[in-house]
Subunit: 345 residues, 2 copies
């Protein structure tokens, strides 16, 4: 007999761990590694580049296992709206799900469902969650502002239970933002989520399509070393509409321009050239390493499989021990001289 969350059943996965659809970083190699390890890989099609998408989908197809591994394809919704033909290209690869984040999912839901794929909508507020479910989302990812890359201001700790209260009776809710280890997965389950999305943790993994120095900076950073701003977007001439900002590691460039975004706009031609050159050269004193607050919990660059196995082992140990905390704490009235077992430090 097995216990599975509806999420596991829906996505036909063993472990409730999803790969965040990180633009470019979540390529075919990483997507496949996460799915092969029992999680749910999601290709990061991001803004949508037909050539990149075609190449990565072909790689996924070449590596296709029997039975096929489930995987998803993720888009930035407002960008997909500018080139909707990419959705047909994506659906032809028979993904188990399409991930839509940052924008109105309505124009795409019917087409995705007709292709027998699930609609995963990532949302950042309670209102967006209700809207997405009304429009047909099958799975809601509640993304806290801890997350790396674009997002809004609500934090996972309150967003997740509030979204569960609002739409959890209709669809599974998954937590994104701030999770990098088994503690985060266990906490997410306590908050009512049925799984977690990992971005930064999978960025700092062997199979991710990221620069080695970017991965090394994630490993070295403390959780105090990230900032949410529009500096990196202004610098690459890629300004998003409010309410979206992006979280990155603090570096020389973000320190220089933090709070001076209007001035940066005026210098965006020379700063933009400098920024793009830095991106090409892997100079992360200027180019941003897009990463979330969970960097403080990341200390190595293992394989995707090691990450998933470690998280599951740690979460299971916490969950197994939890009932002992709970039942005994509830029945025991504190007595200073009772025999006492410390569960803390």
């Amino acid at each position: 007999m097995s216990i599975d969350t509806p999420l596991n059943d829906l996505l036909r996965i063993q472990y409730p761990i999803l790969l965040a659809a990180m633009d470019v970083v979540a390529d075919a190699k990483l997507t496949r590694a996460v799915s092969a390890a029992g999680g749910f890989g999601i290709l990061g099609a991001g803004y949508g580049d037909a050539d990149w998408l075609g190449r990565e989908l072909a790689l996924l197809e070449d590596a296709r296992d029997l039975p096929p591994l489930p995987f998803g394809i993720g888009f930035i919704t407002w960008s997909l709206a500018n080139q909707p033909q990419l959705l047909e290209q994506a659906l032809a690869a028979k993904p188990a799900a399409v991930w839509l984040s940052f924008g109105d999912p309505a124009p795409f839901v019917e087409q995705i469902k007709k292709a027998n794929a699930l609609v995963i909508c990532q949302v950042q507020t309670e209102a967006m969650a209700q809207d997405a479910v009304m429009k047909g989302a099958d799975i809601i990812v509640a993304q806290g502002s801890e997350a790396g890359g674009h997002g809004v201001s609500r934090s996972s700790m309150t967003l997740v239970p509030a979204v569960v209260d609002a739409v959890g009776h209709k669809v599974p809710v998954v937590m994104a933002g701030g999770v990098a280890d088994g503690r985060g997965l266990a906490a997410a389950l306590m908050l009512g989520a049925q799984g977690v999305v990992l971005g930064t943790r999978f960025y700092a993994c062997q199979e991710a399509a990221g620069h080695p120095d970017a991965k090394a900076r994630i490993v070295a950073a403390s959780g105090d070393d990230t900032t949410r701003s529009i500096v990196f977007d202004v610098s690459r001439n890629n300004v998003w509409p409010a309410p979206y900002t992006g979280r990155c590691l603090i570096n020389d460039h973000s320190r220089k321009w933090a709070g001076r975004e209007m001035e940066l706009m005026r210098h965006r031609h020379e700063e933009g050239e400098r920024y793009l050159a830095a991106r090409s050269n892997g100079d992360f004193n200027t180019a941003a390493v897009i990463a979330g607050e969970a960097v403080g919990l990341i200390r190595d660059v293992p394989t995707a499989k090691e990450i998933i196995q470690r998280i599951m082992a740690d979460a299971n140990q916490l969950l197994d021990g939890a009932s002992r905390i709970g039942s005994l704490r509830s029945s025991a009235t504190h007595s200073a001289d009772a025999k006492s077992i410390s569960i803390g430090a």
Copy 2:
């Protein structure tokens, strides 16, 4: 035999639930109600008003139970530094702990310890946690930006486990910010915290010294309805140094001035008068209701005892069920036709 966290032992409490030292709102009545219900009440001495403090301490003394209920007294550290004589007044009331938040605790640690009281330091970053422990903190409260009132930008979900990793081998770590129900307590324990601090949840309780309309607005608000800014501080001519900002419910006044703080500074005389009048009149279209993101999880105004009992019952139910999720999920390889128990929607 009882299982207790070191936190429960240190504070001599039954339940690991602390009252946030909310300036003025956490008065003697609320402090005593929380302690009498098995939690740890902390008087919100805030900026420090000797008359208010004397009156509330006398009320606590009058109501003193036998054996005495443990309680704490909380200060805004940088404000206490301007009138350090208040600490002597506080220690004379024999609190079990003094809570220091927002500033350097070093000048006060020795005096507090000499009075046989514990030093609770609330911190907002990993660096502050390490600094506070080095200076003698006995308990660290890691406050995420979800919290109502003043704070910084790190979120509980990543701040708490990172602070546990940094100082948890030396002192108990408690989670503040984003907790209003049993799910939050269970999640905090999974993250390695030994307890939680509740602010907004205890604001919307019968015994809290808050305006009934403020409590009603907390009940009505969704978690999307708060904002972290300096508008309310500029309006009351109470500007804090960076990195501190404050979270409040969004209202007409905050909507009007959001992003226009420099302009508000220029109008601060007339706007300040209008703001103070609104505070006196309980006009919360202008005056801020200081509250955290957890408002979205708050739907009533019960007693402090009901809040604590409900949280403990819900957390215990979650913790009791957790081992069943954990052990079975870890051993079960997903099989589509296996008999399946849904733990989700």
